[in-house]
Amino acid sequence: MKAFLILEDGTVFEGTSIGSTREVVSEIVFNTSMTGYLEVLTDPSYAGQAVCMTYPLIGNYGITDDMESSRPWPDGFIVRELSRIPSNFRCKGTIQDFLVKHNITGISGIDTRALTKILRDRGTMNGMITTNENYNFEEIKPKLTAYATGDVVSKVTCREKSVMKGNGKKVALLDFGAKKNIAKSLNDRGCEVTIYPAHTTAKEILAGNPDGIMLSNGPGDPKDCGPIIDEVKKLYDSEVPIFAICLGHQLMALANGLDTHKLKYGHRGGNHPVKDLETGKVYISSQNHGYVVDTDGLDEKIAVPAFVNVNDGTNEGLKYTGKNIFTVQFHPEACPGPQDSGYLFDRFIKMMGGEQ
């Protein structure tokens, strides 16, 4: 069946429908990872967005256990070509069936590079995927313009607290849409990880007497998370060591009076170089964010930049002055992407042990 991707600026791509034929309006973003489409699909940070994979051959190894949450989150999945057969010893099914099962709309056979160039040049924009050949752009346009991701954190966070047993440090993980590998990375290092829903109060978390608090990644505009920011501020005020990733990093910044802004087209992929300003070493990182913390005029009394993006100079991490708190914009938990910055989990564990 034919499908159409219609962008806010009137550009239309014609392709073939894959997955669900449900009509969706969403924010269109692109990811440049060459492997890891399954981790991308199941990363809750993509809630409220439709993701275009720039690598043209998708689905080559099918569906495996490599999922970062229990289900796929994007509103839409945009690819150049879906593999006719998957081939991998762990393969349990095809992307096609997976999308259908989870009612995710998709489109294949479009010039994903041309789409990426539009998004790069004109910035991230909203769009619709539809199978209706008789669409009327003038009618659709207001819907596209009106679309906002909104409070997607509430949609993706866990409903109930859960615990991953461990004999080491006790970590409270605040789930704003956490990828599984964050908890796993801590648990693999011996931590007992208690996962809390996003709207848990600081009081409740601190009552659990954790050795450290982990603020997770998550979807949407951090400024849509007003009540959470207030609780994060309370966590900041406690003396418990904190490590935050992505949305968590942005929320901690907002809690401390810093500002965030939307990047023209975000960083989504597995090849972004970030420099550790303390050592001067550069790491290749996995990234997925549309917003970034402003560090112009950053008050050193609050925090100092800890990482910077080598490509565009944007902030990639902060170290909070006088506090056992450090936060990063990128994803040390990888999945998909390079595992080079996994050492940050070790740093967090040392910090919980009293080391600065």
Binding site: R84, G269, K281
Partner: protein, 1066 residues
Amino acid sequence: MPKRSDIKKVMVIGSGPIVIGQAAEFDYAGTQACRSLKEEGMEVCLVNSNPATIMTDKEIADQVYIEPLTVDVLKQIIIKEKPDSLLPTLGGQAGLNLGMELAESGFLEEHGVKLIGTTAETIFRAEDRQAFKDTMEKLGEPVAASLVVNTVEDGIKFTNTIGYPVVLRPAYTLGGSGGGIAHNQTELVEILTNGLRLSRVHEVLVERCIAGWKEIEYEVMRDANGNCITVCNMENIDPVGVHTGDSIVVAPSQTLGDKEYQMLRTSALRIIDELGITGGCNVQYALHPESFEYCVIEVNPRVSRSSALASKATGYPIAKVAAKIALGYTLDEIPNAITKKTFASFEPMLDYCVVKIPRLPFDKFITATRALTTQMKATGEVMSICNNFEGALMKAIRSLEQHVDSLLSYDFCDMTDEELEEALTVVDDRRIYCIAEALRRGASYETIHNITKIDMWFIDKIKILVEMELRLQQEELTVELLKEAKRIEFPDNVIAHLNGKMTEEEVRKMRYDNGIVAAYKMVDTCAAEFDAMTPYYYSVYGSENEAVKTNDRKKVLVLGSGPIRIGQGVEFDYCSVHATWAFAKEGWETVIVNNNPETVSTDFDIADKLYFEPLTNEDVESIVNLEKPDGAIVQFGGQTAIKLTEHLMKIGVPILGTKAEDVDAAEDRELFDEILEKTQIPRAAGGTVFTAEEAKEVANRLGYPVLVRPSYVLGGQGMQIAFNDEEIEKFMDIINQIAQDHPILVDKYLQGKEIEVDAICDGENILIPGIMEHIERTGIHSGDSISVYPAHTINQDIKDKIVDYTERLAKALHVLGMINIQFIAMDGEVYVIEVNPRSSRTVPYISKVTGIPIVDLAAKAILGHKITDMGYKPGLQPEADYIAIKMPVFSFEKLRGAEISLGPEMKSTGECLGIAKTFEEALYKAFLGAGVVLPKHKQMIITVKDADKPEALEVAKRFEKLGYTIYATRSTAKYLQNGGVECRQVNKITQESPNVMDLILGHKIDLVIDTPTQGHGDKTRDGFLIRRNAIETGINCITAMDTAVALATSLESATTEYTLVDVAKI
């Protein structure tokens, strides 16, 4: 970290002559690195024995020594030039080994030279089998169970503990030379014995066989600060067991999930960090197809063939960045030359698929074993880019120029199903065609996978192509079907052929009428995430075009020479690149089309635009439709470019320089005869034929022996000397196996001195940089002959005649640009053998030794400049006051079963130079550069045909005087003894032991002189067995008396004090 201040003058070692396993990729890497060093203000001192390379140009380095790559020569150059640093990681295994020897001996330290790029310790830990294994064990990185052995006995003992089959890998050899898989003790003994001999350190690794696992490679980089990145990973379609150089390779990997991809990536980075690599490095893995188990196969701490491929596949200039790292920069300080926005410390992201297919030389060596093993056999490779795998594969197949442009070729259709299944078990270069045929017959993916171990994902892709063949055969060609066929890159001629009712032209018209045209996408390292500046394009169908049309300047289309093969080597890339530069200097916009990832011409900053595309009529037409060039130059890209001339003219592209009809006149026998008649130049009598009957008729009229050859070929392909009717029939049969559009030439064979000239003609005058003469008499292909400049044995009268004939021919053929002519000088007369109105393989060599920029001048002549205006006096240029000798280099030891005796068909893969004040020293250096390092044991074998016996006697006397013990078989021995040479007679192979074979296998023989009788190629004949076994046991083997004489001369004047010539000062 900024640039180190203690580095001012860097010595760079090149990789020497092109041999199998070490080809043009090192010219590409070396050239890029030298330019990168010069960009940083370094003084660069280059040493490479290969004159056909761009890296040995004076524009590339400050001092250029085209000298033999031996430790002694390097020492003398270091003493003379006093570099403060040595960069050994650019010259392949050859360069690395030399750097290591210099470092290990303490010589570098003694002379204040630092090894930069990567330390000797790192190289040792990566290259030495035991040290490597220890390092991997320390890291917990798995390697296949293995043991380094120095004797065959230890090998057998160890194999008995791990079980057959085992893989054998000799330490420090090129392209896995001497390696292989042994399935039983007999094979083990054979391969191991050979491997031990080939290894510089007499070590072979015996390893658990992991054949059938996925073979995955990572190209990684690390700087001195410990920053590490992956440039690219690649997956071999052929599982472990086939050398990666002979495998079809795809980038990025296609069948690995992120878990597997990152697992191996992390491993690669841990390894280079532990080894402390500073620069580029290649790590090869075997990955179990059904688990996460993997083994590290090997680590190459240098730029390599794979790194060249990775550079071209991603746009990331590995050699350039490696050179900057060697100077002390860190990755985050080096700008990304493609985006100009980002830095070298990032990982390229591809939004396309790259396929590389090796170019194997079995069309040249019909007797060679086609099986692909862990020992590399390919002479070159092609690469193609598309946004789907099927398309990339189809483009790569037709880029090979092997008369194959779809999976339908190499017909397996006559086989029974059983035969076909048997054929699937054969691992050779035809395997994908065999798989395609099996799929056509409905074989299941499981069956094919179980036999070949090729991943089902790839099998499915081949099936998609097979399904399309069927649809094109059975269905009416609708616009939709045509679109889909073009999306997966079916060429128009194949579509027409399958359709059966349409011609290629009709298919093309249908495409054009329906707007189904190629679009071009950019290779930008970042999957379009950043705006890129680099005009490096590949074609796709059904997508938006990104290639920006430009027409502010005159525009020239430069057609490259495709994959490196015997007969068309790196020389033509040299010519293409220089032609591009020359046109750029004249203010033209330059557009290069080529498909060879190993070359300089496909580096993204050589021309204004690079199209990485097959060199076929259709693919070039698509580019022409977009670019609308003002003209095309075909005379620098070898036969590949010449073949495109007709079509280019048909679509209205003016051919710059010599016109196509004049090219035809040189190739077409009758037209050429007319010209010779008009210009009154003699040639050997002959005729043109199409059939064996006609050929025999002509041959009998002329009298045997005759020379039989197809027209419009390079490297004398299919050329043979026939002595009787039977041979004519045999040769015609071989020639006609490939469809012939052009007639076959039969000429009287004249045995005389062969002379060669390259000349430039501006339409009025000619310029001859120099006359070359061959050491070997006619009958041996010019590319396989030792060539001497200046011609020192011919008199002025002959020289005058040659100049006169060259001028007459150039004018009669209306040459504008290059012309290459081969002559025979015999009994005071000069005959023309052949005329090629294009650039030849001797152009780079002659340019370098005369200091005359031939290609540059030819390009200027094409653009209307006159020789007299370029500061040259027309005619033959003054001779140099030294002698320069070009020596062919062969790769016979890599090609089991190949006939090594020389003849009219070219067999050498590369060349090296010997340059000195005297003929003798030049000859000595040339042999040394070609790896003929004698004497060792001072024992030799002579076995020659009757006609050669008088000359053999003279040669034997000279070797005897040099202290050689001479062995000979019965009749030769008798002749030599009668002539006064004290010679020992040995039994023939068929006679009882000890015989000549025992002598050869005894490893005490330096040299075999064996001149073949006619009808060579018969694998059972004594001569063939002697020659093959000599080559495979590392004995120098000479098959022409002239070569033997030259070697005697060279050894008589052996020296250890060399005159070193800085070619950049010529």
